[in-house]
Symmetry: C2
Protein backbone atom coordinates (compact mmCIF):
# COMPACT_ATOMS: atom_id res chain seq x y z
CA UNK A 1 0.00 0.00 0.00
CA UNK A 2 1.63 3.18 -1.25
CA UNK A 3 0.30 5.28 1.63
CA UNK A 4 1.98 3.03 4.21
CA UNK A 5 5.26 2.72 2.31
CA UNK A 6 5.47 6.49 2.03
CA UNK A 7 4.81 6.90 5.74
CA UNK A 8 7.49 4.36 6.61
CA UNK A 9 9.99 6.19 4.40
CA UNK A 10 9.12 9.64 5.77
CA UNK A 11 8.81 8.79 9.47
CA UNK A 12 10.23 5.29 10.09
CA UNK A 13 13.74 4.61 11.31
CA UNK A 14 15.78 1.58 10.27
CA UNK A 15 18.01 0.78 13.24
CA UNK A 16 20.83 -1.74 13.58
CA UNK A 17 19.70 -5.35 14.20
CA UNK A 18 16.86 -5.12 11.66
CA UNK A 19 14.74 -3.03 14.01
CA UNK A 20 12.24 -0.83 12.17
CA UNK A 21 11.05 1.90 14.48
CA UNK A 22 7.55 3.03 13.51
CA UNK A 23 6.38 3.91 17.01
CA UNK A 24 5.51 7.44 15.92
CA UNK A 25 2.44 6.21 14.01
CA UNK A 26 1.90 2.47 14.48
CA UNK A 27 2.75 0.89 17.82
CA UNK A 28 3.25 3.47 20.56
CA UNK A 29 1.82 6.69 19.21
CA UNK A 30 -0.98 5.77 16.80
CA UNK A 31 -2.22 7.67 13.77
CA UNK A 32 -5.64 6.06 13.70
CA UNK A 33 -6.62 7.83 10.47
CA UNK A 34 -3.76 5.97 8.76
CA UNK A 35 -4.73 2.71 10.44
CA UNK A 36 -8.26 3.09 9.13
CA UNK A 37 -6.86 3.14 5.60
CA UNK A 38 -4.98 -0.08 6.39
CA UNK A 39 -8.21 -1.57 7.76
CA UNK A 40 -10.01 -0.58 4.58
CA UNK A 41 -7.31 -2.31 2.51
CA UNK A 42 -7.66 -5.52 4.55
CA UNK A 43 -11.37 -5.35 3.80
CA UNK A 44 -10.65 -4.94 0.08
CA UNK A 45 -8.52 -8.10 0.22
CA UNK A 46 -10.47 -10.30 2.67
CA UNK A 47 -13.97 -8.81 2.40
CA UNK A 48 -15.37 -11.81 0.51
CA UNK A 49 -13.98 -14.37 2.98
CA UNK A 50 -17.00 -14.39 5.33
CA UNK A 51 -14.87 -13.27 8.24
CA UNK A 52 -16.70 -13.46 11.59
CA UNK A 53 -13.94 -12.22 13.86
CA UNK A 54 -10.65 -10.28 13.80
CA UNK A 55 -8.02 -11.82 16.10
CA UNK A 56 -4.82 -10.15 17.24
CA UNK A 57 -2.48 -10.15 20.24
CA UNK A 58 -1.93 -7.37 22.75
CA UNK A 59 -0.72 -4.70 22.71
CA UNK A 60 0.40 -3.29 19.38
CA UNK A 61 -2.04 -5.28 17.24
CA UNK A 62 -5.15 -3.94 18.97
CA UNK A 63 -5.48 -0.60 17.18
CA UNK A 64 -5.07 -2.16 13.73
CA UNK A 65 -7.50 -4.98 14.58
CA UNK A 66 -10.11 -2.39 15.63
CA UNK A 67 -9.56 -0.41 12.44
CA UNK A 68 -10.19 -3.59 10.42
CA UNK A 69 -13.11 -4.76 12.57
CA UNK A 70 -14.99 -1.60 11.73
CA UNK A 71 -14.94 -2.35 7.98
CA UNK A 72 -15.85 -6.03 8.47
CA UNK A 73 -18.57 -5.15 11.04
CA UNK A 74 -17.37 -7.99 13.27
CA UNK A 75 -15.86 -8.05 16.78
CA UNK A 76 -12.13 -7.65 17.34
CA UNK A 77 -10.59 -10.06 19.84
CA UNK A 78 -7.13 -9.75 21.34
CA UNK A 79 -5.15 -12.57 22.87
CA UNK A 80 -3.80 -11.63 26.30
CA UNK A 81 -0.20 -12.11 27.34
CA UNK A 82 -0.97 -12.85 30.97
CA UNK A 83 -3.78 -14.19 33.07
CA UNK A 84 -5.75 -11.73 35.15
CA UNK A 85 -8.63 -12.36 37.50
CA UNK A 86 -10.95 -11.35 34.70
CA UNK A 87 -10.11 -13.92 32.04
CA UNK A 88 -11.51 -16.90 33.94
CA UNK A 89 -10.22 -20.47 33.74
CA UNK A 90 -11.73 -21.40 30.43
CA UNK A 91 -9.28 -20.32 27.75
CA UNK A 92 -7.21 -21.52 24.83
CA UNK A 93 -3.50 -20.88 25.14
CA UNK A 94 -0.39 -21.05 22.96
CA UNK A 95 3.32 -20.53 23.51
CA UNK A 96 5.13 -17.78 21.61
CA UNK A 97 8.87 -17.18 21.48
CA UNK A 98 9.65 -13.47 21.13
CA UNK A 99 12.87 -12.90 19.19
CA UNK A 100 12.72 -9.18 20.05
CA UNK A 101 12.64 -9.83 23.79
CA UNK A 102 14.54 -13.13 23.74
CA UNK A 103 12.00 -14.94 25.89
CA UNK A 104 8.93 -17.15 25.69
CA UNK A 105 5.45 -16.13 26.74
CA UNK A 106 1.96 -17.59 26.71
CA UNK A 107 -1.05 -16.02 25.01
CA UNK A 108 -4.63 -16.67 26.06
CA UNK A 109 -8.07 -16.36 24.48
CA UNK A 110 -11.28 -17.07 26.36
CA UNK A 111 -13.10 -20.11 24.94
CA UNK A 112 -16.31 -18.10 24.98
CA UNK A 113 -15.21 -15.83 22.15
CA UNK A 114 -13.84 -18.30 19.60
CA UNK A 115 -15.52 -21.44 18.27
CA UNK A 116 -15.76 -23.78 15.30
CA UNK A 117 -18.38 -21.44 13.83
CA UNK A 118 -15.79 -18.68 13.49
CA UNK A 119 -13.88 -17.71 10.39
CA UNK A 120 -10.98 -15.63 11.61
CA UNK A 121 -8.85 -12.93 10.07
CA UNK A 122 -5.62 -12.73 12.06
CA UNK A 123 -4.09 -9.24 12.17
CA UNK A 124 -0.83 -7.88 13.53
CA UNK A 125 1.30 -4.79 13.12
CA UNK A 126 4.45 -6.72 12.15
CA UNK A 127 5.24 -10.01 10.46
CA UNK A 128 8.90 -10.95 10.99
CA UNK A 129 9.57 -14.57 11.96
CA UNK A 130 5.84 -15.09 12.40
CA UNK A 131 6.06 -16.48 15.93
CA UNK A 132 3.15 -14.45 17.34
CA UNK A 133 1.00 -15.26 14.30
CA UNK A 134 1.84 -18.96 14.71
CA UNK A 135 0.51 -18.70 18.25
CA UNK A 136 -2.71 -17.09 17.03
CA UNK A 137 -3.10 -19.83 14.36
CA UNK A 138 -2.59 -22.45 17.10
CA UNK A 139 -5.35 -20.86 19.14
CA UNK A 140 -7.73 -20.89 16.15
CA UNK A 141 -6.91 -24.59 15.58
CA UNK A 142 -7.62 -25.39 19.23
CA UNK A 143 -10.98 -23.60 18.96
CA UNK A 144 -11.78 -25.41 15.71
CA UNK A 145 -12.10 -22.02 14.02
CA UNK A 146 -10.98 -21.65 10.41
CA UNK A 147 -8.37 -19.06 9.45
CA UNK A 148 -9.58 -16.86 6.59
CA UNK A 149 -6.16 -15.30 6.32
CA UNK A 150 -3.45 -13.23 7.93
CA UNK A 151 -3.07 -9.49 7.52
CA UNK A 152 0.07 -7.65 8.61
CA UNK A 153 0.80 -3.97 8.29
CA UNK A 154 4.54 -4.46 7.75
CA UNK A 155 6.35 -7.64 6.71
CA UNK A 156 10.09 -7.96 7.10
CA UNK A 157 10.46 -10.47 4.26
CA UNK A 158 14.09 -11.24 5.09
CA UNK A 159 13.02 -12.78 8.43
CA UNK A 160 11.16 -15.61 6.73
CA UNK A 161 7.75 -15.69 8.39
CA UNK A 162 5.83 -14.51 5.33
CA UNK A 163 7.42 -17.10 3.02
CA UNK A 164 6.53 -19.83 5.48
CA UNK A 165 2.84 -18.83 5.72
CA UNK A 166 2.52 -18.49 1.94
CA UNK A 167 4.09 -21.94 1.40
CA UNK A 168 1.63 -23.36 3.92
CA UNK A 169 -1.19 -22.10 1.67
CA UNK A 170 -2.44 -19.41 4.05
CA UNK A 171 -3.83 -16.30 2.38
CA UNK A 172 -1.47 -13.59 3.59
CA UNK A 173 -1.61 -9.86 2.93
CA UNK A 174 1.21 -7.61 4.08
CA UNK A 175 0.55 -3.98 3.27
CA UNK A 176 4.23 -3.04 3.13
CA UNK A 177 6.85 -5.71 2.43
CA UNK A 178 10.43 -4.82 3.30
CA UNK A 179 13.03 -6.78 1.33
CA UNK A 180 16.04 -5.31 3.08
CA UNK A 181 16.97 -2.55 5.49
CA UNK A 182 20.76 -2.68 5.56
CA UNK A 183 22.65 0.44 6.62
CA UNK A 184 19.47 2.31 7.40
CA UNK A 185 18.15 2.05 3.83
CA UNK A 186 14.63 0.59 3.55
CA UNK A 187 13.93 -1.32 0.31
CA UNK A 188 10.37 -2.45 -0.41
CA UNK A 189 9.39 -5.46 -2.49
CA UNK B 1 -24.44 7.06 28.63
CA UNK B 2 -27.61 5.01 28.30
CA UNK B 3 -26.20 2.85 25.50
CA UNK B 4 -23.29 1.70 27.68
CA UNK B 5 -25.40 1.16 30.81
CA UNK B 6 -27.80 -0.99 28.81
CA UNK B 7 -24.94 -3.03 27.37
CA UNK B 8 -23.44 -3.57 30.83
CA UNK B 9 -26.82 -4.76 32.14
CA UNK B 10 -27.48 -7.07 29.19
CA UNK B 11 -23.99 -8.58 28.76
CA UNK B 12 -21.87 -7.72 31.81
CA UNK B 13 -21.35 -10.00 34.78
CA UNK B 14 -20.96 -8.78 38.36
CA UNK B 15 -18.69 -11.32 40.04
CA UNK B 16 -17.65 -11.62 43.68
CA UNK B 17 -14.87 -9.26 44.79
CA UNK B 18 -16.33 -6.30 42.87
CA UNK B 19 -15.14 -7.70 39.55
CA UNK B 20 -17.25 -6.48 36.62
CA UNK B 21 -16.68 -8.76 33.66
CA UNK B 22 -17.24 -6.87 30.41
CA UNK B 23 -14.71 -8.76 28.34
CA UNK B 24 -17.36 -9.69 25.77
CA UNK B 25 -17.45 -6.12 24.43
CA UNK B 26 -14.84 -3.91 26.09
CA UNK B 27 -11.51 -5.42 27.08
CA UNK B 28 -10.90 -8.80 25.47
CA UNK B 29 -13.46 -9.10 22.70
CA UNK B 30 -14.18 -5.58 21.47
CA UNK B 31 -17.36 -4.20 19.92
CA UNK B 32 -15.71 -1.30 18.16
CA UNK B 33 -19.02 0.11 16.95
CA UNK B 34 -20.01 0.58 20.61
CA UNK B 35 -16.59 2.04 21.44
CA UNK B 36 -17.02 4.59 18.65
CA UNK B 37 -20.17 5.83 20.38
CA UNK B 38 -18.18 6.18 23.59
CA UNK B 39 -15.48 8.07 21.66
CA UNK B 40 -18.14 10.38 20.25
CA UNK B 41 -19.44 11.07 23.76
CA UNK B 42 -15.94 11.93 25.00
CA UNK B 43 -15.74 14.37 22.10
CA UNK B 44 -19.08 15.89 23.10
CA UNK B 45 -17.69 16.44 26.59
CA UNK B 46 -14.06 17.41 25.89
CA UNK B 47 -14.28 18.68 22.30
CA UNK B 48 -13.75 22.32 23.28
CA UNK B 49 -10.69 21.59 25.44
CA UNK B 50 -8.10 21.94 22.64
CA UNK B 51 -6.93 18.37 23.13
CA UNK B 52 -3.75 17.55 21.20
CA UNK B 53 -3.30 13.94 22.25
CA UNK B 54 -5.21 11.00 23.72
CA UNK B 55 -3.16 9.08 26.29
CA UNK B 56 -3.95 5.61 27.65
CA UNK B 57 -2.13 2.55 28.95
CA UNK B 58 -1.83 -0.84 27.30
CA UNK B 59 -3.66 -3.05 26.70
CA UNK B 60 -7.34 -2.56 27.38
CA UNK B 61 -7.36 1.21 27.00
CA UNK B 62 -6.01 1.18 23.45
CA UNK B 63 -9.23 0.46 21.56
CA UNK B 64 -11.17 3.17 23.41
CA UNK B 65 -8.34 5.67 22.99
CA UNK B 66 -8.34 5.02 19.23
CA UNK B 67 -12.12 5.41 19.07
CA UNK B 68 -11.78 8.81 20.79
CA UNK B 69 -8.72 9.89 18.78
CA UNK B 70 -10.73 9.60 15.60
CA UNK B 71 -13.27 12.20 16.76
CA UNK B 72 -10.61 14.56 18.08
CA UNK B 73 -8.42 14.10 14.97
CA UNK B 74 -5.34 13.77 17.17
CA UNK B 75 -2.89 10.91 17.77
CA UNK B 76 -3.54 8.23 20.37
CA UNK B 77 -0.59 7.30 22.56
CA UNK B 78 -0.39 4.30 24.84
CA UNK B 79 1.95 3.92 27.78
CA UNK B 80 3.81 0.61 27.68
CA UNK B 81 4.05 -1.75 30.62
CA UNK B 82 7.52 -3.00 29.79
CA UNK B 83 10.60 -1.86 27.96
CA UNK B 84 11.32 -3.41 24.58
CA UNK B 85 14.23 -2.79 22.23
CA UNK B 86 11.98 -0.43 20.32
CA UNK B 87 11.15 2.16 22.97
CA UNK B 88 14.66 3.58 23.27
CA UNK B 89 16.21 5.05 26.41
CA UNK B 90 14.47 8.37 26.37
CA UNK B 91 11.18 7.93 28.16
CA UNK B 92 9.03 9.15 31.02
CA UNK B 93 8.04 6.50 33.53
CA UNK B 94 5.68 6.13 36.48
CA UNK B 95 4.96 3.41 39.01
CA UNK B 96 1.47 1.88 39.19
CA UNK B 97 0.14 -0.49 41.82
CA UNK B 98 -2.41 -2.90 40.34
CA UNK B 99 -5.04 -3.90 42.88
CA UNK B 100 -6.41 -6.50 40.45
CA UNK B 101 -3.07 -8.27 40.09
CA UNK B 102 -1.70 -7.38 43.52
CA UNK B 103 1.62 -6.15 42.17
CA UNK B 104 3.44 -3.01 41.08
CA UNK B 105 4.52 -2.26 37.54
CA UNK B 106 6.14 0.58 35.64
CA UNK B 107 4.63 2.37 32.66
CA UNK B 108 6.67 4.17 30.01
CA UNK B 109 6.05 6.84 27.39
CA UNK B 110 8.69 7.98 24.93
CA UNK B 111 9.72 11.59 25.52
CA UNK B 112 9.37 12.22 21.81
CA UNK B 113 5.60 11.94 21.87
CA UNK B 114 4.65 14.09 24.85
CA UNK B 115 5.77 17.64 25.60
CA UNK B 116 4.79 20.88 27.33
CA UNK B 117 2.94 21.86 24.15
CA UNK B 118 0.48 18.97 24.63
CA UNK B 119 -2.97 19.15 26.14
CA UNK B 120 -3.86 15.59 27.00
CA UNK B 121 -7.11 13.70 27.38
CA UNK B 122 -6.40 10.60 29.46
CA UNK B 123 -8.64 7.64 28.60
CA UNK B 124 -9.10 4.21 30.14
CA UNK B 125 -11.68 1.44 30.09
CA UNK B 126 -12.09 1.37 33.90
CA UNK B 127 -11.76 3.81 36.74
CA UNK B 128 -11.67 2.00 40.10
CA UNK B 129 -9.03 3.15 42.58
CA UNK B 130 -7.51 5.29 39.84
CA UNK B 131 -3.97 3.92 40.19
CA UNK B 132 -3.31 3.56 36.45
CA UNK B 133 -4.77 7.02 35.77
CA UNK B 134 -2.55 8.47 38.53
CA UNK B 135 0.42 7.00 36.67
CA UNK B 136 -0.70 8.60 33.42
CA UNK B 137 -1.18 11.98 35.19
CA UNK B 138 2.35 11.62 36.63
CA UNK B 139 3.73 11.06 33.15
CA UNK B 140 1.93 14.17 31.84
CA UNK B 141 3.37 16.18 34.73
CA UNK B 142 6.88 14.92 33.97
CA UNK B 143 6.45 15.93 30.32
CA UNK B 144 5.10 19.34 31.33
CA UNK B 145 1.91 18.53 29.40
CA UNK B 146 -1.41 19.79 30.74
CA UNK B 147 -4.24 17.37 31.45
CA UNK B 148 -7.46 18.45 29.73
CA UNK B 149 -9.36 15.74 31.57
CA UNK B 150 -9.91 12.07 32.21
CA UNK B 151 -12.44 9.91 30.40
CA UNK B 152 -13.33 6.44 31.62
CA UNK B 153 -15.85 4.08 30.10
CA UNK B 154 -16.87 2.56 33.44
CA UNK B 155 -16.33 4.01 36.92
CA UNK B 156 -16.73 1.85 40.01
CA UNK B 157 -17.64 4.77 42.27
CA UNK B 158 -17.40 2.67 45.44
CA UNK B 159 -13.64 2.22 44.89
CA UNK B 160 -12.96 5.92 45.37
CA UNK B 161 -10.79 6.93 42.41
CA UNK B 162 -13.43 9.11 40.76
CA UNK B 163 -14.16 11.06 43.95
CA UNK B 164 -10.45 11.72 44.40
CA UNK B 165 -9.97 13.09 40.86
CA UNK B 166 -13.09 15.28 41.08
CA UNK B 167 -11.94 16.71 44.44
CA UNK B 168 -8.56 17.46 42.86
CA UNK B 169 -10.38 19.64 40.31
CA UNK B 170 -9.71 17.38 37.33
CA UNK B 171 -12.47 17.32 34.71
CA UNK B 172 -13.59 13.71 34.76
CA UNK B 173 -16.19 12.00 32.60
CA UNK B 174 -17.21 8.42 33.32
CA UNK B 175 -19.76 7.16 30.81
CA UNK B 176 -21.27 4.61 33.21
CA UNK B 177 -20.94 5.10 36.96
CA UNK B 178 -21.59 2.05 39.12
CA UNK B 179 -22.66 2.87 42.67
CA UNK B 180 -22.81 -0.71 43.89
CA UNK B 181 -22.69 -4.25 42.57
CA UNK B 182 -23.43 -6.35 45.64
CA UNK B 183 -24.81 -9.86 45.12
CA UNK B 184 -24.49 -9.59 41.36
CA UNK B 185 -26.87 -6.60 41.13
CA UNK B 186 -25.44 -3.62 39.26
CA UNK B 187 -26.77 -0.22 40.39
CA UNK B 188 -25.86 2.87 38.36
CA UNK B 189 -25.55 6.39 39.71
Amino acid sequence: LKLLEERILSDGLALPGSVLKVDMFLNHQIDFSLLKELGREFYNIFGSENVTKILTVEASGIALACAAAEFFSVPALFAKKGLSKNIGSDYYSAEVFSYTKGSQYTIYVSKKYLSERDRVLIIDDFLATGAALDGLCDICARAGASVAGIGAAIEKAFQGGGKRFREAGIKLASLAVIESMDNGKIVFN
